[in-house]
Each structure stands twice: as C-alpha cells, then as structure tokens.
C-alpha cells in the first residue's frame, strides 16, 4: 500500500528548479532509499513533504490525504517525523527533554481544546501527564541504549549518539513515516553498522522509513526500494538490484563514458 506519494512535486526558487515534477512513492512497511548526487534536490524534497517548505506546484498525499503546504506541526501530528542532515538537536536541553519535546504534542488532548485552555489544562494534568511523557521518553532512550545519559545536555553527547538522539526524538512523535536525512554522515564503519541495525529495528516496529544516504553499502543492503534523483528530476526507481544495473544511474554517478 502506498503510504505517501508526491504528484509532480516542483519547488522552484526564482529561476532555479530544485525539485522538478517528481513523483515519489513510499510503500508502507518498507525502507525506501532516496539517493542522488549532491544538489539533486533530495533534502528539498524532504523539506517540501515535511512542511518546512511548500512546493510551488504539485501535491503531497499522505495516506490518501492532501497535505500539500500544511504547517510542519500539523504534518508532524499526522505521523511524519524527520531528522536532519546537520544535527539539529535542542542543544541546551537535556537528552530526555529533547525526546519529551517529541512526545508533548502526541497526547491527543492538545489538538482538540481551545488555544489557551491548553496552557491551563497542562497545569492541571501536569503531574500525571508529564510522568507518562517522561516514562515513554525513557523507553525510547532505552531503545537506543541511552538511558544512562538522559540528564546530560544534548550538546555534550558524542557525535554518533547525537545522531541517535535525533532519531529517538523523531520516533517519540509516534510517526508512521520516518525521514532520515543522511543518518550515517560522519559515522565510522562500526557506528554505521550499529545504525543499520537500528533502522531495521525501527522498520520492525511497523514504521516506514525513508532515508537519504550517500553510503552506498548502507543503502544497498537495507533499502527495499530506491528512488534516484538527479538535477531535481527523478532518474530511476526500483529495487537495489535494478538501481545498481541502471545505466542512467551509473552515468549520473560516474559520468558518461565517451565512446
């Protein structure tokens, strides 16, 4: 079943077309890789789906609903979460607080009531709700073997752990769909192996994963489906095997062979 699809999604900045009429599909339950040379429009596509940016043309459908141009916080609450290429943790908050931010607006009550009743409401349920959020957040930290660091400031974590914390924070929003933007960037081979195991574990939680990645070993070994972008356009789509044999993809990465 298709969980997310974009229809001719286009994002132009003045004359520069960063993403050009891209039809991108994500099948539920799979790990989908989004690859392409630098500047191909991968992150722009992520931004346009997650509400950080709005497409100039085209539509984004999530579970059949049109979410094109919806505000980021609403898209998050519908069940789409993401991480960033350059880590964007709340550096001055503790590890557990970072995860709690992800959980805060998933309690269900916040959407329904009036704006400022919320603030008062949050005072009333303060104790019990906070405890619940805290516990659930700790569970996510356990998932990443990080419960021992929960009171550390996020900025003091080692690099690899910061990447994992960002994923934990995204998972805390209870997403159906998780976007990972270059999760292995800057990781050593051992850390990358660990990350691959984590991504598989996430998929086993019935969370659909989409990842942008340059590490081909990682992409080829864990992705079930791959979409390739080049110059803002979709170049190819298929299984890892198909992609590896696709002549257009090989040319995009290695350059055209002169006859």
């Amino acid at each position: 079943m298709t969980l997310l699809e974009t229809e001719k999604l286009t994002r132009a900045y003045g004359g520069v077309v960063a993403v050009n009429k891209v039809d991108f599909d994500v099948e539920e339950g799979l790990i989908t890789g989004l690859i392409g040379p630098n500047g191909a429009g991968k992150t722009t596509l992520f931004n346009n789906i997650t509400g950080l940016d709005a497409p100039t043309h085209g539509r984004v459908l999530f579970e059949g609903k049109d979410i094109t141009g919806a505000p980021a916080h609403k898209i998050c609450r519908m069940g789409i979460a993401r991480t960033f290429q350059n880590i964007r943790l709340f550096r001055e908050l503790t590890v557990v607080e970072n995860v709690m931010i992800g959980r805060h607006f998933k309690t269900g009550k916040s959407e329904t009531k009036g704006r400022f009743l919320n603030a008062i409401g949050s005072y009333v349920h303060l104790r019990q709700e906070e405890e619940e959020i805290y516990e659930r957040s700790c569970q996510w930290l356990e998932f990443f073997d990080m419960e021992g660091m929960k009171d550390e400031l996020a900025k003091n974590l080692p690099y690899g752990k910061q990447r994992e914390l960002e994923i934990a924070r995204a998972l805390a929003t209870d997403p159906k769909l998780l976007f990972l933007d270059e999760p292995a960037a800057g990781m050593n081979p051992q850390e990358t192996d660990h990350l691959m195991a984590i991504i598989r574990k996430i998929r086993d939680l019935d969370i659909t994963v989409v990842l942008i990645e340059h590490d081909m070993k990682l992409v080829m070994s864990i992705c079930d489906a791959i979409t390739v972008l080049n110059y803002g356009m979709k170049l190819a789509q298929g299984t890892p095997l198909e992609i590896r044999r696709n002549q257009d993809v090989i040319e995009a990465y290695l350059g055209k062979e002169d006859a």
């Binding site: 950080l52 505000p71 916080h73 998050c76 908050l93 607006f105």
Partner: protein, 305 residues
C-alpha cells in the same frame, strides 16, 4: 556606611529591582523566541496600570478601606493581567506576525509604531493628567530595627517573587514551557516535532504582557498612572534585560534586581544627584555593551550554518 543604612538601601533597591525584573521578562522572552525587541512592551505596562486602576476603583467603590479593598486590588490585578495578555497577543497578531519573514528591522519599527499608538491613544482617551492609584491598604512604614519598610515594598517583593517562581516553574516544568524553550532554541525543528509555534509565540506575548501589567500596577501605587508612564520604565527594564543577557529568563530576573540596586546605591551612596538617577541605567547599558555585550548570563551565539 552603617549596616542599617546598607540594608535600607538594599531593601529599596530590591523592590525597585523586582519591578524592573517583572517587566524585563517580557522583553527577554519575546527576544528569546522572535529575536526582536518589543518596544511597545512599556506601553502595555501603562495599559495594564490603567486597566488595574479602573477595575480597582470600580470594585472598591466608596467602601472604606478594609479587607474588601485588598480583595478588589488583587481582583483588579488579575483582570488587568488577563486583559493585558489579550492586548499583547492582539498586538503580536496585528503588528508583528505579518512581518515574521520580513527583514529584522521591520517588526522593530512596527513595535515603535505600536508604542506611539498606545501612549498617544491613552493620552487621547484618558487625558494627560496623572491619576492617583490609591494604596489598597494602610501604607504606614514598618520599622524593623533601624530599617524602614513600607507595606507596599513588601507587596512588591512578595508579588514579584511569586510571579518569577511561577514563571520559572512554568518554563522548566510544563510542556508548554518546554515547547517555549525548544522554540527559542530552534523554531523550525520545534515545528517539525509537532510544536505549534504560533501558539507558543502568542503565549509568550500573553505571559510577558501579564507580567508587565503587574509591574505597571505596582509602580502606579507610588508614581501614579499616566499615558507616558511606560516609556522610561520600559527602557530601563530593557536595560535590565540586556544586562542579564537578553533572551535569558534568569538573566532578566537577575538583571532587573541588579539594576534596581545599582540605581538605589548610585543615588544614596555614590552621591549621584537624584535628577541624574536615570543616567545610571543607561550608563550601565553602555558599559555592558562595551565590556560584555552578551550580558551577564548570556552566551555568545554562534552563527548557525
């Protein structure tokens, strides 16, 4: 200087500083989230004082002072906090929100415009004469040893302490508070984590304005209510916020109190003429900007890449 004299000045400084701190919080919270100085904040304080005055006078009627007067005073304060919060949110919605993606100078200019509208609007509606805000209680000074404390000073200390502790608990412990901190650290990431940033911004203005209203009422008891009362106090509270490190809540509290103490001691101990009292705050501003522009509690912000 005798020890009693020292405590006397300290007491006076603390009460003045407590008020500065309450008002400085509004500047610092808004700056923390939107990175701009809300120059209309001082005039929200004035509006809060007027609302407080009208509600108080209406509630207490002509009853002789007593318990009811004190109750009316606190009721007036609460009503004023609520209405000022709405005013602050309204200002944000009308004058700042449309400019959120404009250059940084635009909301600043808009804020100055709002400031003029409020103070001139008040002068037009209520006249330019200053109105007395009666003490809700007998303000006969109390002698503790050689130190003289007025009930009004005690009121200021208690109220500002409660407000500051309440705010600190709210920001540190509640989920909206956490959302606020997250928003001030990284607005777009907060959005992606499901935080409704517009709501957080509205709430920030609401809280800041409510605190300003309290500050306005507490000042008005000593210095009356008039249309331009927010200008100088607002500027000084702004200095306090910069002194503590703008954007930092504890910094604003500390900066406010420190500024109050500096002003009091500057006049009483270092012999700065009373007429030049206001120069102390702005002297402090110049010094802090030269020596430590990020403020006492502030951190040097790294440019985000």
């Amino acid at each position: 200087m005798a020890i009693a004299e020292f405590f006397q000045h300290l007491m006076n400084g603390l009460t003045l500083g407590g008020i500065y701190a309450l008002i400085a919080l509004g500047y610092t919270m808004v700056y923390g989230i939107l990175k701009f100085i809300n120059f209309a904040h001082g005039d929200v304080l004035m509006a809060g004082a007027f609302i407080g005055l009208f509600v108080f006078d209406w509630l207490r009627g002509s009853a002789p002072s007593g318990v009811w007067t004190i109750i009316s005073f606190f009721l007036a304060m609460i009503v004023s906090m609520g209405l000022s919060a709405l005013l602050g949110m309204f200002i944000e919605r009308v004058a700042y929100k449309p400019l959120r993606n404009a250059t940084r100078l635009a909301p600043l200019l808009s804020a100055i415009g709002v400031s003029f509208i409020l103070s001139n609007g008040a002068a037009w509606a209520f006249g330019t004469r200053s109105r007395k805000f009666n003490y809700p209680f007998d303000n006969t000074p109390i002698h503790i040893g050689e130190v003289v404390i007025t009930p009004h000073q005690i009121l200021i200390l208690v109220v500002s302490l409660i407000m500051m502790i309440g705010l600190k608990l709210f920001v540190d412990r509640t989920r909206m508070g956490k959302a606020m901190r997250a928003t001030s650290l990284d607005q777009s990431t907060a959005m992606l984590m499901g935080v409704n940033v517009n709501k957080v911004i509205s709430l920030t203005f609401a809280i800041g304005s409510a605190l300003a209203a309290v500050g306005g009422i507490l000042i008005a008891l000593d210095f009356k209510v008039y249309a331009s009362m927010g200008t100088m106090t607002g500027l000084k509270a702004f200095v306090a916020a910069v002194l503590g490190g703008i954007g930092n809540i504890s910094g604003a509290m500390f900066g406010g109190i420190l500024l109050g103490i500096l002003e009091t001691f500057g006049v009483a101990v270092f012999g700065i003429p009373t007429g030049l009292k206001d120069t102390i705050a702005f002297g402090v501003l110049i010094i802090i900007l030269l020596i430590r522009p990020e403020g006492l509690f502030g951190k040097v912000e790294k440019e985000k890449v």
